[in-house]
């Protein structure tokens, strides 16, 4: 390890958090509550003040949780399941329950999740750990927990009817398993999956290897993609939706409620994606970096098999892990490239692009004075217009950005790559060096270059 890595690592050791030792002694993990913070305990002040637009989180200070300096996984907008070690067994408790969830400011809904949130807390362990996970069911119907991708005794697989009886409401079952393989996995119900997963029951499950392969990673993030159908004005997602999803989320949040990923320029960053949505695969595109796909829920890929990409396709029911080293500082979007997935609660009203509505508007001022024609010049700016919309909805809403309104929503977040991330303000914007921002063309320069701004042809 080089001096920079060593300093970073030992800097963490002086924090209040204990350093994880080989052998699985539990570090003081952050408590498993929604909106919890990754990184150092000192940062866990519970300050979730949402100064627009992004969720405020203290700059993540990495902490080592596994052999050879493997850092802990940070779950933006989420939490990690705390362990209690009893006789060498890591004991955890998942409570399956109905939760009151906020997707973004102005959109709240009744969902189902674990330990008060959706997605549920990330389960983090080390290869070879013995785990005992109690699952208490406080849902109105039975449930189970299936450990997606993990090789374990058949009876612990959590398939209702096939490998166990489902957990009746009100009861607590226990799962005993040894995580013999490292990897990025997930957990979700395997009883009435259509309903329970559509309402938000899922979580990430990361197992660190004893002997890590590849270059050391400085930051490690876990993001679950989800798709929901929440009609504007409704307060519960529709579990029967098979298509026409209108609310897309990273870790249960739609932009601008997604917590930005704070990254130091030049660091090696790992992002683990998990997709337990109902129907759609998501091509997650990162701006400003290229990366390699280094692992799936089947295991690590040898370097020669690691695909270089700027967009990683995460099919339904899979995990994909990428590693990147950003070389350019800035505010870089990371989003699903399906254009409708980056727009919150967009409807399918007939397009009015290009229509001349003057006659219609004159008549409507008589027929229905509160009507306003919209969208004749496109949809940009719809989120900014102060029109009354159904309660508990935020159709087409985006956020104020450093230059103007950002008209994106849904499955969209920002990688904030900073020269010095430790002193960076998570709700602040990148300060661009002079001359590096696209702006209006200077007319003299245009003439010198032979560009006619009017016709767009070069002379």
């Amino acid at each position: 390890m080089d001096r920079r890595e060593f300093l970073m690592w030992s800097g963490v050791a002086t924090g209040a958090a204990a350093v994880a030792k080989v052998g699985g002694v539990a570090a003081a993990q952050e408590p498993a509550h929604p909106g919890g913070h990754g990184g150092a305990v000192g940062a866990a002040t519970g300050a979730t003040g949402a100064s627009a637009p992004s969720v405020l989180a203290a700059p993540t200070r990495t902490r080592v949780v596994a052999p050879s300096g493997q850092v802990g996984v940070h779950t933006p907008n989420g939490s990690t399941l705390p362990w209690r070690v009893v006789d060498g067994v890591k004991v955890g408790h998942l409570v399956a329950e109905e939760v009151d969830h906020e997707f973004a400011q102005g959109i709240r809904a009744r969902c189902w999740g674990y330990n008060g949130g959706t997605p549920g807390p990330t389960i983090e362990a080390i290869e070879g750990d013995r785990l005992r996970i109690y699952v208490t069911n406080r849902l109105p119907e039975a449930t189970t927990v299936h450990w997606h991708g993990i090789i374990l005794p058949n009876g612990m697989d959590g398939v209702a009817g096939l490998t166990q009886r489902p957990i009746p409401p009100g009861e607590t079952y226990v799962y005993e398993l040894v995580v013999r393989h490292a990897g990025t996995f997930m957990y979700h119900p395997h009883y009435d999956e259509m309903t329970q997963m559509a309402l938000g029951m899922m979580g990430m499950f990361v197992v660190h290897p004893r002997r890590p392969q590849g270059p050391r990673v400085d930051r490690d993030f876990a993001l679950m993609t989800s798709e929901w159908k929440l009609e504007p004005g409704a307060a519960r997602p529709d579990p029967n939706a098979m298509n026409d999803f209108n609310l897309l989320t990273f870790n249960g949040k739609a932009f601008p409620a997604t917590e930005p990923l704070m990254i130091q320029k030049g660091e090696r960053v790992r992002i683990r994606f998990g997709n337990l949505g109902a129907m759609d695969h998501h091509p997650i595109h990162l701006h400003g970096v290229s990366f390699h796909e280094t692992a799936t829920d089947g295991g690590f890929a040898p370097p020669s098999a690691q695909r270089p990409e700027t967009t990683v396709l995460v099919p339904v029911g899979t995990t994909r892990v990428i590693e990147l080293v950003p070389t350019e500082s800035g505010d870089w979007p990371m989003h699903c490239h399906m254009t409708h997935h980056a727009m919150t609660q967009m409807g399918h009203a007939r397009s009015t692009v290009g229509a001349d509505t003057r006659t219609l508007d004159r008549r409507m001022s008589r027929v229905l004075p509160s009507y306003m024609s919209m969208g004749q010049r496109g949809m940009g700016g719809m989120g900014e217009m102060p029109m009354p919309v159904p309660s508990n909805s935020a159709p087409m809403r985006g956020a104020e950005g450093p230059f103007s309104y950002i008209d994106m929503g849904g499955m969209f977040t920002i990688l904030k790559v900073r020269d010095d991330v430790a002193s960076a303000d998570p709700s602040g914007w990148y300060r661009h060096p002079a001359g590096t921002v696209a702006g209006p063309a200077d007319p003299a320069r245009m003439r010198a270059d032979g560009i006619d701004g009017g016709s767009g042809e070069s002379r």
């Binding site: 009609e231 504007p232 004005g233 609660q345 967009m346 409807g347 399918h348 009203a349 007939r350 397009s351 009015t352 692009v353 290009g354 229509a355 001349d356 509505t357 006659t359 219609l360 008549r363 409507m364 008589r366 027929v367 229905l368 509160s370 009507y371 306003m372 024609s373 919209m374 969208g375 719809m382 029109m387 009354p388 919309v389 159904p390 909805s393 159709p395 087409m396």
Partner: protein, 470 residues
């Protein structure tokens, strides 16, 4: 003995005066009818001449926008049928006066020229008077008085009937005009859908089928509006007829809104008793029963009273005046008016049966009209307090969904048209309430009117006519 001719003349003159005391003018009858029907004014038909021109009071009432009350007052003053019915009271009154008149005495005067010379002219006076008819005259007068009462009740019924018909026709016109206004708003909404379709088609955003569908829906709506225009025109004409208007007078205007629905409805507990007491038809039948009873009495009296005619004569034979008198008596031996009596009694009994049947009908009318009134009030109130507010909330929410771009302008306008359709039905329910109220009030005043069935079922909601959405 010699009777002073002056005294005789005086007696005759007194009889003449007394018999002429009953007046032929129906002014008093009209006052009674006006009180019984609680009318503001009745036409001045006690005068002999028939006015061809419309009265000044009617022209004054026509000066302001009409309401059902004003229309009723105009109709009562101006409806020629009602004026005729009121003048019919004069017929009964004339008959009453006639029945009370004393019989005329008969006189005979003879002059004879005797053939012998020196004999003066022979003069003879003869006078007779039917005493029986004198005795029976007051009885006949009382019978005719009862018939006059019956005629007054009939006229009162006619007044209430015309008042109700005027209100009902006017409410029908007001409602038709209000429905036409709502329909024109709905037509505007159809036109807006058509404008939107045209704009989107010109921009290339929708295919020709969608545009053609909206154009067709608009054109169909125009015909529906034309039908409502016709309804309004026909309703207006029926008002003109009931109010008896022609020429420039037909240019009256009406209040655009029907009167507001009262929140509470008060119907008396002993409704049937009130209605029975007030009923003109029952009162008329009672008067007619009384008339028949009196005529039966006349027949009974005439059955035993001999027909007596007293007479007196005086004669000059030579230089002497001879005076004499006598009586002519017809004894009721064979003809004691048995047949006539039986006929009158049968007539009485038949009318009494009819009277009892009428009472049953009147009670039933009371219950039925009270039921109609309660139902109409509840429905009109439901439209005002529940249905229209609910539809307005639907439109509010639809507008929010439109702002969120979840629905488009066609669906929004469809919701607007459904609101206007509910408005059409609200107007009809309100009209039905006021018409039920008028018929109920007419019954409480004393006359049961025939109730009309409910009217227009034209609906403008229309199908969505929107094939290619979502």
């Amino acid at each position: 003995m010699s009777t002073d001719p002056k005294i005789l003349a005086g007696l005759l003159f007194g009889a003449l005066v007394v018999s002429g005391c009953a007046t032929t003018s129906i002014a008093g009858d009209l006052d009674g009818i006006r009180e019984a029907t609680a009318s503001a004014m009745l036409p001045r038909v006690e005068r002999d001449d028939v006015e061809v021109e419309t009265g000044a009071d009617v022209r004054e009432l026509l000066g302001a926008p009409l309401t059902p009350d004003r229309a009723a007052r105009i109709a009562i003053l101006n409806n020629r049928g009602l004026r005729a019915a009121l003048r019919d009271v004069g017929v009964a009154r004339g008959d009453y006066v006639q029945a009370g008149l004393l019989p005329n005495p008969g006189f005979e005067f003879d002059v004879r020229e005797p053939g012998e010379v020196g004999e003066p002219l022979q003069l003879e006076f003869f006078g007779e008077w039917n005493l029986t008819r004198v005795v029976l005259a007051p009885m006949r007068a009382r019978a005719a008085r009862a018939e006059l009462e019956a005629a007054r009740y009939r006229a009162a019924s006619a007044v209430v009937e015309v008042g109700y018909r005027a209100r009902a026709a006017f409410l029908g016109y007001q409602a038709a005009a209000a429905r036409l206004a709502a329909a024109n708003q709905a037509l505007d909404a159809f036109a807006a859908s058509r404008d939107a379709a045209r704009a989107l088609f010109e921009a290339g955003n929708i295919p020709g089928l969608d545009r053609a569908t909206q154009e067709a829906a608009y054109e169909s709506a125009r015909v529906l509006v034309a039908e409502l225009e016709l309804e309004a025109m026909i309703a207006r004409e029926s008002v003109q007829r009931v109010l008896g208007l022609y020429g420039e007078e037909t240019a009256w205007t009406a209040e655009s809104e029907l009167a507001e629905l009262p929140d509470e409805l008060a119907i008396a507990d002993d409704l049937e008793r009130d209605v029975l007491e007030a009923s003109f038809a029952l009162a008329e039948t009672r008067s007619r029963l009384e008339a028949i009873a009196r005529r039966t009495g006349i027949a009974r009296t005439a059955g035993w009273l001999p027909d007596i005619t007293v007479d007196g004569h005086t004669e000059r034979d030579g230089d002497n005046w001879e005076v004499g008198g006598g009586a002519h008596v017809s004894l009721p031996i064979f003809d004691r008016q048995q047949g006539t009596r039986a006929a009158r009694e049968a007539e009485f009994d038949a009318l009494l049966e009819r009277y009892l049947g009428m009472a049953v009908d009147v009670r039933s009318s009371a219950r039925e009209l009270a039921g109609r009134l309660r139902s109409a009030h509840a429905r009109a109130k439901h439209f005002r307090d529940a249905i229209l507010p609910a539809r307005r909330r639907v439109l509010e929410q639809a507008l929010l969904q439109y702002n969120a771009m979840q629905i488009d302008v066609f669906q929004l306008l469809q919701v607007q048209r459904e609101l206007l359709d509910a408005e059409l039905r609200r107007i009809e329910a309100l009209r039905e309430f006021w018409a039920a109220r008028a018929s109920f009030d007419a019954l409480l005043t004393g006359h049961a009117v025939g109730v009309e069935p409910t009217s227009s079922a034209v609906s403008l909601g229309g199908a969505s006519e929107d094939p290619g959405e979502h």
